[in-house]
Symmetry: C2
Subunit: 488 residues, 2 copies
Amino acid sequence: MLVQTVEGMSKKFNMDIRNLSEVTRIDRERKVVEIKSLKTGETYEESYDVLVLSPGASPIKPPIPGINEAEALFTLRNIPDTDKIKAYVDEQKPKKATVIGGGFIGVEMAENLWERGVEVTLVEMADQIMAPIDFEMASILHQHLREKGVNLVLEDGVKSFEKNGKLINLNSGKQIDTDLVILAIGVAPENKLAKEAGLELGLRGAIRVNERLQTADESIYAIGDAIEVKDYINGHATHIPLAWPANRQGRIVADHINGIDSKYQGTLGTSIAKVFDMTVAATGNNEKTLKRLGISYDVVHVHPSSHAGYYPDAFPIALKLIFDRETGKIFGAQAVSYDGADKRIDVLATAIKGGLTIFDLPDLELAYAPPYSSAKDPVNMAGYAAKNLAEGLVETVQWHEINDILADGGYLIDVREPIERDMGMIEGSVNIPLGELRDRLGEIPTREVYVYCQVGLRGYLATRILMQAGFKVKNLDGGYKTYSCVFE
Amino acid sequence: MLVQTVEGMSKKFNMDIRNLSEVTRIDRERKVVEIKSLKTGETYEESYDVLVLSPGASPIKPPIPGINEAEALFTLRNIPDTDKIKAYVDEQKPKKATVIGGGFIGVEMAENLWERGVEVTLVEMADQIMAPIDFEMASILHQHLREKGVNLVLEDGVKSFEKNGKLINLNSGKQIDTDLVILAIGVAPENKLAKEAGLELGLRGAIRVNERLQTADESIYAIGDAIEVKDYINGHATHIPLAWPANRQGRIVADHINGIDSKYQGTLGTSIAKVFDMTVAATGNNEKTLKRLGISYDVVHVHPSSHAGYYPDAFPIALKLIFDRETGKIFGAQAVSYDGADKRIDVLATAIKGGLTIFDLPDLELAYAPPYSSAKDPVNMAGYAAKNLAEGLVETVQWHEINDILADGGYLIDVREPIERDMGMIEGSVNIPLGELRDRLGEIPTREVYVYCQVGLRGYLATRILMQAGFKVKNLDGGYKTYSCVFE
Ligand SMILES: Cc1cc2nc3c(=O)[nH]c(=O)nc-3n(C[C@H](O)[C@H](O)[C@H](O)COP(=O)(O)OP(=O)(O)OC[C@H]3O[C@@H](n4cnc5c(N)ncnc54)[C@H](O)[C@@H]3O)c2cc1C
Ligand SMILES: Cc1cc2nc3c(=O)[nH]c(=O)nc-3n(C[C@H](O)[C@H](O)[C@H](O)COP(=O)(O)OP(=O)(O)OC[C@H]3O[C@@H](n4cnc5c(N)ncnc54)[C@H](O)[C@@H]3O)c2cc1C
Ligand SMILES: CC(C)(COP(=O)(O)OP(=O)(O)OC[C@H]1O[C@@H](n2cnc3c(N)ncnc32)[C@H](O)[C@@H]1OP(=O)(O)O)[C@@H](O)C(=O)NCCC(=O)NCCS
Ligand SMILES: CC(C)(COP(=O)(O)OP(=O)(O)OC[C@H]1O[C@@H](n2cnc3c(N)ncnc32)[C@H](O)[C@@H]1OP(=O)(O)O)[C@@H](O)C(=O)NCCC(=O)NCCS
């Protein structure tokens, strides 16, 4: 999507811009493209020295039974698509809408429809929305969507549409009545031209390019949503249809055409979305990706405040850092918050590009005044926590391990105050508040224990106290807060 | 300033915290300190293996005639000081306040008093407030303060107080009637103990330490506002009394005492303040510092939007980048905006710590969605602009050079639209809108020209067009927007 007018750009850049013109064929031998004018229907040829393909990606619309009969079913790619949806909502005043797909487009649509007073159901095949982040982080958003009144249906897909799309049958057998359907289940690279011209395709049919963004034909570059890129973190091929990479690639191709040798470094996949009142942002690889690739990693979850607690409107940021314990390499980071998630992910994306490791994060000298951060920024905190783990000062267990540990007879100490337990606790845990721990060591019946607190900090301190007293101890990473995102 | 209670910290950390206790002497030979209890008046000794000095810095209160008779004159160091000022405002309901000093404490006080409905005069000796940024950037804040109704008095100082502080005589002869005076003209390191103990002092009397933060006596560490630090950018000694360095230093000393070898890298000076509705943030060295040290540098000013223009509440960020044209080294950055300044300075502070140069900034993959940024983030834009300069694609002139150039008969083309000139222009410039430039080259009477536009972008494009047509041309960096911060 481009946010400029034809006249504006033509005048400024002395460009010959032909809109309403579809390229229908590339003749690589003769170095010409065939163009069909959508105004006149006329077809003509244009020659090129170099050709840049930037055809984007189009919304996936699978052959679900009844899909073609669905009357109020929309996909979303460009401004005209948005206009159509807006017109439909303005004129038909739908009461109920169903959004299929919990990616950033689906979630943004859910939010916008909700803002217009439409009752929204969001159907997502996976067990979570927002694929770039991991399950426990997405769970914070699930809670938020449900609080807002969105009917969130996870682990279920559309089997068929009936009644011209007014009735949706899900795989589970569930049925949804709806006045409007938004289909946002992903995009597929526009590869028709490239494929027909015999250019090499890669993952998910994306056009394959080299570091200079040249296709198999060196006179033909390809950029944007249509291409396969290298994952900046793990080096494998991937497909990341986002605006920053498209932009950067465009500039690199312009450089290269003009004789400046510039290479695309690969895509980190930094992404962000507004989810109602919250922000979710991520960069680099998530656990799911690392697991799939068999790369070993460690994780810390912290929940520091977006800014100083004594200044109004501070909110905790759920910040997750994924890294290599040996080298300190940062694989990725995820943040969910009402405020300040964008800044921390941008800082971490910059740290990754600067080759900084978790060992360097405490040394990031970030701007502090009460309205903006704390004297120790959340990124510093995540760094300290990761470093403590890497240096063996603490061992941790993750949110998804603790229930099994308890079931197997593990001894779990809750080091919070009794009043905090009243607000929610892990069943089967024993309460010894941190302030009393040193005096109550005798009560602990086993040498192997687990501890937890609200966010991980007091748990860490308890771990240190217990380790020094000779216990073998692990702290629940991210504390009750991370655990309860999922188990509540 | 510490934001914790004595009980909370004692319990959690098993610490012996003695408040209302003043250390009055260090006996290095015997490794004891002399402590005076402010509750009982009693004096006793305590021995140490290692001693950590963190006495901070105290507000400077020079012997200005009449200062001791001034009744409603306050300085500000801690919570009790704040309470006193608040009590005075609540009870005496002053109509007029005078803040002396335009650093971040002075400006924050001006804002808070203004919020309480007090008429505020701010007196600053230098030609600008907010010393960490340069004059043209501070000028944006000067405009903002004046718009808010603050009576801003620059390049003037207090000569004397009369009438128990109700009348202030300035050096210029100006007189100010006031009900309340806040003195915030800087802080001086608390060095009395260190000095008397014969420890080495440095710049402005700050305690001198090595990389491990040890004083001349290796059993005595010193940290925080009391110490001299190394400037991270230029390596020279400096004194930067901020909370991030104090915190980081505390942790490094703790590490070192516990046998972990950890070094303080020096202070970058990343700082931030809320100035009424605006934010000012900076990192690294400013022009003033580099000039003083005789380091050569280049500058770009850009004014990109805090986020996508088509999403509500986007504001331009005045972003200044100072760098070395040869190596690309980033010396510093400054940002002033209603929104998003903190994020960009944190990203740039991280880039500096990662050893990234201006050539890397376009490759920073930052999070984009319309509420948060643009597909090209302001930091990317600043990087592109700096790179264009470093690679010789454009030459620029600065805001402070253009008036002299015009006075010397220079030919300056305004490439904006006529309607933009109506809103303000540089006197003596000739108008040729960018869209017409290619066709009107014949009108330009000389081969050496200067161009400007609103923010520098169209000026850059005009520069490229003119260079390709054989002109020798320089673009006004930052455009009319940077120029008019000062000359309007
Ligand atoms: C609703 C929506 C919201 C988005 N929000 C964000 C966001 O917040 N952040 C983000 O990073 N990304 C976002 N994106 C993704 C972003 O828009 C894309 O990554 C970016 O536009 C890709 O640029 P591109 O040039 O590759 O493709 P596109 O912008 O899709 O442009 C491709 C163009 O090529 C044209 N075309 C295709 N085939 C031909 C042909 N044969 N002949 C002529 N023309 C052809 C298409 O009509 C289209 O105009 C969003 C996308 C959508 C749909
Ligand atoms: C109003 C105000 C606002 C600020 N805002 C910011 C901000 O937004 N961002 C930022 O980065 N920084 C800010 N600062 C600066 C920040 O507070 C300091 O950099 C930081 O507190 C320094 O920590 P320190 O331990 O060196 O000194 P301090 O926090 O000053 O602590 C020193 C302590 O030592 C005590 N002491 C001194 N001598 C003795 C002695 N002989 N015996 C016993 N005790 C002694 C003092 O009473 C004091 O309690 C602000 C400062 C002020 C005054
Ligand atoms: C007051 C203060 C010193 C108290 O510190 P604290 O209670 O120990 O809390 P900290 O934030 O220092 O964290 C303590 C430890 O817990 C660890 N920790 C914190 N959160 C954690 C988490 N979620 N999981 C695991 N470990 C965690 C930290 O890494 C740290 O460990 P380490 O120092 O042994 O590596 C601290 O809050 C502080 O420095 N505040 C700043 C004061 C200030 O802002 N002054 C300026 C005002 S202008
Ligand atoms: C539409 C678009 C391509 C127009 O680009 P444009 O008008 O050329 O503006 P650009 O931002 O690319 O800047 C052009 C040049 O001016 C330079 N420039 C910009 N501001 C400058 C300044 N203040 N001083 C000096 N040079 C400046 C840039 O460095 C660039 O130069 P270069 O490319 O020769 O190095 C651009 O705005 C864009 O990419 N938008 C993103 C679209 C989008 O957001 N899509 C996603 C929607 S989901």
